[in-house]
Amino acid sequence: MTKTTQKILLDLVTYVLLIAGAVTMLAPFLWMVATSFKLPADQFTHTLIPNPATLDNFRKLFSFDLNFPRLFLNSTIISLLTVVGQLLTCAMAAFCFAVVKFRGRNLLFTFLLVTLMIPEQVTLIPNFIIFKYLHLVGTSVPLWLPAFWGGAFGTFLLRQYFLTIPRELLDAARVDGASLWQIFWRIYLPLGKPALAALSIFTFQGAWNDLLHPLVYMPTVPNTTLTVGLAFFQTQLTQGGRFTVLMAGALISILPLVLVFFFAQKQFIEGISLSGLKR
């Protein structure tokens, strides 16, 4: 076998395998879209093209007693507040760890990294008890407030990026008499935009997709998030045999993130590489 035929053969195998994989990754989404446009009577037909197609399921979603818009709004508010909290507090801490010289810096940073490995479930019960005594269970406060006391992942990610910003900039600013806060606000935040964008996306994704915390803090429909709401509808709607409406709900719930992903793919991917490689 010559070199070129070997290469062509290898390319062929690569494409076949990658396409087969891509179909597996995509199939559930196609099924979701297809079912959401089918008539309820056609919900179990095994065709990918709905015939006839209908928008009725989406209309039901908003007219039903499901209160879908409210769930959507709750998820949006909680996710946005989480992003704001994380961006602000993680960026400030990351700046301190990357730029400021202070006693115990390395020790504190190591301690922060160790907390990355502690399962969240360990902190869930005492946090719940505190929020319960503050009468905040049943509100969205316990879901976004903790975002305002920093986080190991975000601080780590931003610090890694801040370290790549040339020190000469910092020294020059210092010579010009810039204060610590000005250096943070005028140099590190603007130059750190790619990492800040990546962190925003991850944080938004984490909050939007979270199931466990909303189940603990806002367990009852309709005063809850999309995830808990969908889990609740699952039992309701499948018993009523309305998979088409359920799929319409699932589709709308993933749409914001899918759109963000399509437009900000670069940030997603760079963020993951950033958190994974430079240690």
Binding site: I125, L180, F261, L277
Partner: protein, 295 residues
């Protein structure tokens, strides 16, 4: 690392302002919560009546509790299938994508899609796909003359859920491995080709050793995720009265605390989970020192 600006005069105030949220998070959110959970695990408390001292009874009770032991076994079985599954498949996909091919960005987008979307939403479709009488999977099986399988019955549920969890995790693993693979200099492969090394040889003597840092990282992350797996379990294996056909430890923690109001017992389970994860991490870091190659 010793480089850094010293805060001067009033800047010290701003420095503390910037660091305080994180300090609060570390003292109360992390350290305080762990100590609190540890304390709670030594009590009986339903949050309605005052707590009573339990000593180590909650921990002793765990090992006599068949439901908990079942959850522990399920968690281990889950991890044993999930971690190698994610690491091997994502590495394989990344190796394929790292060959110079067309349409790589389209493939990357598609493979990453499940990692973006919520487990709750995709689990709803998977439940339809796995459906016993109406699911597409059994429809295909029947078409090729095979009998239907009950994918989400107790016997198969763990396996079915692991498959979906792996499906959802390949995207992230693939990105980690792609970053590791592109960092390997092309010259290594060119030199190996000139020396007559075949593709398999190249993979095992160049790619695999040089990608060990990514393998280490991905194994670590997947293990942490496996021990905390909850969403798909909750969405796909729930039964009547909030039980699960294949409960895992996190499921058991939630159920004990918020369904049975046994906060002491749930805390003991949470502590055990943390100890298990920490022991495993220590083992991984020991392995890292022996086997991981950093250039």
């Amino acid at each position: 690392m010793e480089y850094g600006l010293k805060p001067l005069g009033r800047e010290k105030f701003w420095f503390w302002v910037m660091l305080t949220p994180t300090l609060i998070g570390l003292t109360f959110g992390a350290l305080g919560s762990i100590l609190a959970t540890l304390g709670l695990s030594l009590t009986h408390w339903d949050l309605l009546t005052p707590p009573t001292w339990a000593g180590l009874n909650n921990y002793i009770a765990l090992f006599k509790n068949p439901a908990y032991l079942k959850a522990l076994t399920n968690t281990f079985e889950f991890s044993v299938m999930y971690v190698p599954g994610v690491v091997i498949i994502s590495l394989f996909v990344a190796v394929l994508m790292n060959r110079k091919i067309h349409g790589i960005s389209i493939f990357r987008t598609i493979y990453f899609l499940p990692a973006v979307t919520s487990a709750v939403a995709t689990a709803l479709v998977w439940n339809m796909i796995y459906g016993r009488d109406t699911g597409i999977l059994n429809f295909i099986l029947n078409r090729i003359g095979q009998p239907s399988v009950c994918w989400l019955c107790t016997k198969n549920a763990l396996m079915s859920v692991v498959v979906v969890n792996i499906w959802g995790a390949i995207g992230e693993g693939m990105i980690i491995f792609l970053a590791g693979l592109t960092a390997i200099p092309r010259e290594y492969y060119e030199a190996a080709t000139i020396d007559g090394a075949g593709l398999f040889n190249q993979f095992f003597s160049i790619t695999l050793p040089l990608v060990t840092p990514s393998i280490f990282f991905q194994t670590l992350m997947s293990t942490i995720n496996a021990f905390q797996a909850y969403d798909y379990i909750y969405m796909m294996t729930r039964q009547g009265q909030g039980d699960s056909s294949v409960p895992v430890v996190v499921f058991s923690i939630y159920r004990n605390a918020w369904n049975f109001f046994n906060y002491g017992g749930a805390s003991a389970q949470a502590i055990e989970l943390a100890v298990l994860v920490i022991l495993l991490m220590a083992f991984y870091f020991w392995l890292e020192r022996r086997y991981v190659v950093y250039e």
